[in-house]
């Protein structure tokens, strides 16, 4: 064996040992947490023959806030999504899986919205539709009650076209992440200033129509270390009371409890898998940078058990980026971090590759995660795995 090959062999062996060491130490760390996420069962929503089960922009669970609601029972959980194929808003009773309501929203329906970036019902007569650049308040008949233009002269930004980036509607204020037109800059050599990093989250008062931008993107970008577009999306979820929300960013180890436009509490919800995300380079396509790296995605709050679940998006192997099987080349596998009411991390679990957060929600202390494998092999139903966080039994 030549010197060159001996040296290469030794280098590869050393790198492999280091990698194995890292993997083993991460696995060990995961084992040390006090809780685990246990698959307790499966749940399914039936679909008719003209409805496909991939959501158009938004899906989730809602509960009517009106005791005299004309359609939805007060205090009951409903699963909802907008069908990609029919453009209908479909609502199902979560307890029975029965479809109890449908409203055509795109195409030739009573109202024509497209694209729908997000959809938030509060009750049958109070439903917010985000369809850039408008925020529209409608009722269950599709009648438009208010139409607010979200474009502002001082800030350029769009609503985020992703199903897992959820806005919240707290009191009369819509709070939503926006996609900045400046980040990352087209020319990656350009340095942004602090001014450009302010305003990651848009606040729109539905009554007064007042708009404002609050919260900052990370100041790490001042150094010119840019990430792909998807890494800048601020994600939100309602927290304990109606006045607070949890804010997270794909690149940030922290989560933030926000109230009235200000950060009330900041805490760590860090994955064991990565410490930082390498910056994008001019040679790498934006979407490829997102796919080959770790990052955080959505988060959910289980009010019954006072647990925050944070989704960690795992990398796709570079060999699979052009795989014509879209389930491999588009869907990043996920891990779930669980944080308790003292903001302590109690679990991090890598989920089997069939579970994904394209559709995910919490109801009655259980985390529902879309089962893509079952949903694609049986397209007349949407399938979910139902998970519960449990104390780890140590033998």
């Amino acid at each position: 064996m030549s010197y060159f090959f001996q040296k290469s062999f030794l280098s590869i062996l050393s790198i492999s040992l280091v990698l194995m060491g890292c993997t083993n130490s991460t696995e060990k760390k995961l084992e040390n947490f006090s809780h685990e996420l246990v698959l307790e069962g499966y749940y399914q929503i039936p679909l008719d023959s003209v409805t496909d089960g991939l959501p158009y922009g938004y899906s989730g669970v809602f509960r009517s806030n009106n005791p005299n609601d004309s359609i939805f029972e007060y205090g009951k959980d409903y699963f909802q999504f907008i069908s990609n194929s029919t453009g209908e808003w479909l609502v199902y009773d979560l307890a029975t899986s029965n479809n109890i309501f449908r409203l055509k929203l795109t195409g030739d329906g009573p109202v024509r919205f497209a694209p729908i970036n997000a959809f938030i019902p509060k009750n049958a007569d109070s439903i917010l539709v985000l369809n850039f650049p408008y925020v529209t308040l409608i009722n269950h008949k599709g009648e438009i009650l208010k139409n607010i233009n979200a474009l502002t002269p001082e800030k350029l930004g769009q609503f985020i076209p992703q199903s897992y980036v959820l806005p919240v509607w707290i009191d009369d204020v819509l709070i939503t992440g926006i996609m900045s037109e400046n980040l990352p800059p087209n020319d990656l050599r350009r340095k942004v200033d602090m001014e450009e990093l302010i305003g990651a989250i848009m606040y729109i008062d539905i009554i007064t129509e007042e708009k404002s931008f609050k919260h900052e993107f990370s100041d790490q970008y001042l150094n010119g270390n840019y990430l792909s577009t998807q890494m800048y999306f601020g994600t939100l979820y309602e927290f304990d009371s109606n006045a607070t929300a949890i804010l997270g960013y794909p690149h940030s180890d922290s989560l933030f409890i926000i109230e009235g436009g200000k950060v009330k509490t900041q805490f760590q919800a860090k994955s064991e898998f990565f410490n930082s995300i390498p910056p994008i380079t001019p040679k790498l396509k934006d979407f490829d940078h997102y796919r080959i790296n770790y990052c955080y995605r959505s988060h959910f709050y289980d009010a019954k058990n006072k647990i925050i679940y944070r989704v960690v998006s795992l990398p796709i192997a570079e060999d699979n980026l052009d795989n014509p099987d879209i389930t491999i080349s588009r869907f990043k596998n996920i891990a779930i971090i669980a944080v308790n009411e003292k903001f302590e991390k109690v679990a991090e679990i890598v989920l089997p590759e069939n579970f994904h957060d394209l559709m995910a929600f919490v109801s009655d202390g259980k985390l529902y995660l879309w089962d893509k494998e079952k949903s694609f092999s049986d397209e007349d139903n949407i399938h979910f795995g139902v998970f519960e966080l449990k104390d780890k039994i140590i033998n």
């Binding site: 496909d52 158009y56 194929s85 694209p115 970036n117 087209n186 396509k285 014509p324």
Partner: protein
């Protein structure tokens, strides 16, 4: 001077190599989707992912709809994940089949033509003169394509 000239030539060769690869990949993929022996010398293609940036797909679809009845405008639906949705869409468009292609095997993805965003592509005299991803924050791509489409 000679060194500079050589570097410039190498750069040009590499650039041409990339362009040729794109060209070949597109036509290889197109042949697999539509076995028509003679693709048109002048054409506009909207290559649309089924699963991708919904806002971008909407914007591209709005432009396509304005020109859908033109003989030189084609649309290729690709990046399919749902067989049910593919079947529903094929059933919707049988009368327009001449200019609408369904890439059921996702060859456009395999050949690296499309990843997540719609791709707008223009062919003039048999050569690809425009081929860009339509990203949500990049209005310029749509405007430049419009100029070619609506001179």
């Amino acid at each position: 001077m000679v060194k500079r000239f050589l570097v410039f030539n190498i750069f040009l060769t590499l650039l041409c190599g990339c362009e040729n690869k794109k060209h070949d990949n597109f036509y290889e993929a197109l042949t697999q989707i539509n076995p028509e022996p003679n693709p048109p010398d002048n054409a506009f293609y909207f290559i649309m992912p089924d699963l991708g940036c919904s806002g971008c797909i909407y914007q591209a679809m709005e432009l396509y709809k304005k020109h859908a009845l033109r003989e030189d405008v084609y649309i290729i639906f690709t990046s399919y994940i749902s067989k049910k949705k593919l079947d529903l869409e094929i059933a919707l468009f049988p009368h327009l089949a001449d200019n609408i292609f369904f890439d059921a095997k996702n060859v456009m993805v395999e050949k690296e033509i499309l990843a997540y965003y719609p791709v707008l592509l223009a062919v003039e005299d048999g050569k690809i003169i425009f081929m860009r991803d339509m990203q949500p924050t990049d209005e310029v791509v749509l405007e430049e394509f419009k100029v070619l489409l609506e001179p």
